[in-house]
């Protein structure tokens, strides 16, 4: 099968800052997650894929065609930018209708598509309000709406879940999953692992401008899980908890800190967190705080690149 999105040794420099280095990708229909911490080069890659930036080296092909200065291709591409920027003096309806008219749709067709897209993202009802008065979630959904209103085959969504509350996230995730039908190719970027996990199994991990892993998220998860995770707890009886935890095979070591702080390492985070509530009830502990100092994507990447 011919990949829909294809990059070959794609590199991008901003002056002497490296944005992307020799990225070769082949993405087919379905949802693909592009995962990477902030500054990894996700947005640079997405801008290169949508022809907003010119590659310093290498090639970008979408549906077999070069994308830079190829406007006809944009009938088939929908792009949701990362920035929360709009023509603020317009209403949601005017914004979407105007962009559809730029696609060459007639007035009636543009109006029909506007209504349909706004209904899909659940903004219909607020369509005549100025965008500057929209909530963060509505703005994010409006960005998604403008990306899909012209019914593109390829959707490139740059951090569509950024800054949304859990309910808003759920709505967008459901929407993106619905869009998968119809053999669309959807590339979604995020820096939050569970978000991408909720969307797809097929992911690409980007770190410092390079693709460091590609494939099924469960395999990558296993890779990640092979490394110990650090969890910090603050409770009234840390020694009692530590003694009990050390009986568990997945708890590797514990360390006592000041003011009831207990830091421990586990090689199975899911198992640890799954069993913790029962343990707390059993020992009648008063837990003040649970943090996971390395539970962020940067730490995951540090593990993967062996830092």
């Amino acid at each position: 099968m011919t990949p829909v999105i294809q990059t070959r040794k794609l590199s991008k420099w901003y002056g002497n800052i490296l944005g992307l280095s020799e990225v070769s990708l082949e993405i087919g229909p379905g949802i693909t997650g592009l995962l990477g911490p902030n500054g990894a080069g996700k947005s640079t890659l997405m801008k290169l894929l949508t022809g907003q930036l010119k590659p310093s080296l290498g090639r970008v092909l979408l549906a077999g065609e070069g994308v830079w200065n190829n406007p006809a291709l944009f009938r088939r591409i929908g792009y949701c930018p990362e920035h929360d920027s709009f023509y603020e003096d317009t209403t949601g309806r005017q914004f979407l209708d105007g962009l559809l008219r730029l696609h060459g749709f007639g007035a009636a067709e543009a109006a029909r598509r506007t209504e349909s897209a706004l209904r899909l993202v659940e903004i219909w009802g607020d369509e005549n309000r100025l965008i500057r008065g929209y909530s963060r979630g509505m703005r994010q959904r409006l960005k998604v709406a403008q990306a899909l209103a012209h019914d593109p085959e390829i959707l490139i969504l740059d951090e569509p879940l950024n800054g949304l509350d859990p309910l808003g996230k759920r709505k967008i995730i459901r929407l993106i999953k619905e869009l998968k039908a119809g053999n669309r190719t959807i590339l979604v970027s995020s820096h939050v692992l569970p978000e991408v996990e909720a969307l797809t199994r097929d992911i690409r991990l980007l770190h410092q401008g390079k693709i460091i892993a590609a494939g099924d998220i469960h395999d990558i998860r296993d890779l990640i899980d092979a490394h110990p995770h650090v969890v910090a707890l603050r409770c009234d009886r840390p020694r009692k908890l530590a003694a009990r935890l050390m009986e568990e095979p997945h708890v590797l070591k514990v360390h006592f800190g000041p003011d009831g702080l207990l830091t421990l390492e586990t090689d199975n985070r899911d198992l640890f967190f799954g069993g913790l509530p029962a343990l707390v009830v059993e020992l009648d502990l008063e837990i003040e705080e649970i943090t996971s100092p390395d539970d962020n994507l940067q730490a995951v990447f540090d593990y993967l690149v062996g830092k």
Binding site: G133, V280, V281, E286, I287
Partner: protein, 289 residues
Amino acid sequence: MSIREKGYHRWDGRLEERRRGWKPIARLGIRLAFKRKHFKFAFSLSFLPAFVFLAGIYLSERLQDFEGIVRKGAMPLRVVPGYFLSYLTADFVLFMTVVLLIFCAAGLVADDLKHNALQLYFARPLAKRDYVLGKAAVVMFFVLLLTLVPGLLLVVFKIVFSGSFGLLRDHPGLPLAIVVYSAAAAVFFASYSLLLSSLSRNRRTASFLIFGIYVFSDMLAEILRGIFRTPYVGLVSVKTNLKLAAAPLFGTKPVLEVPSVYAFVVLAAVVAAGAWVMNRRIRGVTIIK
């Protein structure tokens, strides 16, 4: 298991009022201005008149060296208070002041409004007064650098070149006049530019307003003078008002037959308008209708 309620602890310390909250804002504004592309060029260029006037002072003391090239019967250059006033209100100096405002003042409030940064400022122990003072201090710093510093240095150079304190003996109020005019100009330009900067969220629009109103007011005054044939319409012009207000401080004849107090009133009105608009526009919370 008891679940501890998350909340705030009572703080028993004493909250001391920070009186210099404006200082970091001012420092940052000045630093950022120098980081702007082409600012240093414009800043250096604005000191050109100061060097020309300095050369004038030198020539006034060493006329005998230039007897060969000076036309017979030419009026000798007299360095009196009017000379300093000419520098301070020179068209080029005022023009360059406005150009510098485009760099250092246009975005002072507009950028904060655009990026919703006001709430970040006011989430700190910072009053609106500190914010405005800090922003105004940035403008005042540059205006004073263009007026007060060269003005006083010209006085010093006159004393050095003449080798006597004759200038100060004859005009003891001169340094004070320079200080008062410079301070008034600094306050005026700070209010003028912050007023316009706070009217827009776009730095480009603010730049445009700062420059456009300065030029437009002057043109309008000329046109209105043509229509009404009265010098009072000169009060519409920013430049003329500054010149009119400065004249009595230096004991010189005003550029127009208009009492200088009117110019003071106009300038004060701009300052008051600036304070009023800023008070309305600068808020930690914006309600979007």
